[in-house]
Symmetry: C2
Subunit: 158 residues, 2 copies
DNA sequence: TTACAACCTTAACCTAAGTTTAGGTCAAGA
DNA sequence: TCTTGACCTAAACTTAGGTTAAGGTTGTAA
């Protein structure tokens, strides 16, 4: 914990990142972070790992699966990355985030018009059914979901 | 499938909502949707359930857990709800969505400044460490996560 | 009335992201 | 030296959100 401490123990990382030791083990096993071992086989990390853990946690809050986070970090970490490559990756990552943001905003906007209506309570829907008029044409009631579009990242779940 | 069809089979719901039959069963078992049974014990639903399923899927895409979606829907469904009550619930739900939206936008904005830097590649971080200067004071490197705020809804995961 | 798709239930299985437990080792201070 | 807290591994367990399988029933159309 002194200032010119060259490396962090797993406990240090846990304390300073707010993540349990078991999770640090887990992340290491999954290849999301890396460090080295002492002669006594104990884990040691560079300070830089803290930021990496922080990014992992933020990305998780955003709903990104670890596999995707890892994949992305790995691609950025491949040493000779051209700015064009970086650009592509960055755009993909953003597209996925944008998709999720859109989803959330859309959901929020549905609140007044939909959550208050009969489809959620058991009373009649006061919005005389703009959705159900679609039903004759096939896959109705998908209007919310179908507005999502099919970005590059939606394939992740499909 | 004819127009004045009063009810939907589980297959109808599946087809029209784009969700597998097994998932419809699952949602029903979890109490997220409800219907009734024919004399032959087959499921029947009102058309309204389609919109409900659509909302569930959008909410899921936004990263909300089913338990939370259900909890919220249940509260709206409690029959005698005053407009004041509705207002409170609506504000809570929106606050949570806003929090998540903010989180995502923040993450997206971190992309350029952070994912391109040395904490992800193995080179030195070009952003001469605004995070690590915090390390002397205790839980450093939590700056991203701690910017998230602790709204009424963050307790859900904690 | 017979075929066949669509339905039913229960139970086992699956992935993700960890957590917990058990049994053993390491390192630093009194 | 001894104790104690921090560390190690492996394996079992957990929750969420489903999917798959097996074996039986229903409903409809020829």
């Amino acid at each position: 914990m002194t200032d010119n401490h060259p490396s962090l123990t797993v406990g240090d990382v846990a304390r300073r990142s707010g993540v349990p030791v078991s999770t640090i083990h887990f992340y290491e096993k999954k290849g999301l972070i890396e460090g080295w071992r002492t002669q006594g086989n104990q884990r040691r990390y560079e300070r830089r790992v803290l930021r990496r853990v922080a990014i992992i946690r933020v990305a998780q809050r955003a709903g990104l699966p670890l596999a995707l986070i890892k994949e992305h970090m790995d691609r950025y970490a491949s040493t000779p990355i051209t700015s064009a490559q970086w650009d592509v990756l960055n755009r993909e990552w953003r597209a996925m985030l944008d998709e999720r943001i859109t989803s959330l905003i859309q959901l929020r906007n549905q609140l007044d018009s939909c959550i208050g209506c009969g489809c959620l309570s058991l009373a009649d829907c006061p919005l005389r059914n703009p959705g159900d008029t679609l039903s004759r044409e096939g896959p109705g009631a998908r209007l919310l979901a179908s507005q999502q579009g099919q970005g590059a990242w939606s394939s992740i779940k499909g």
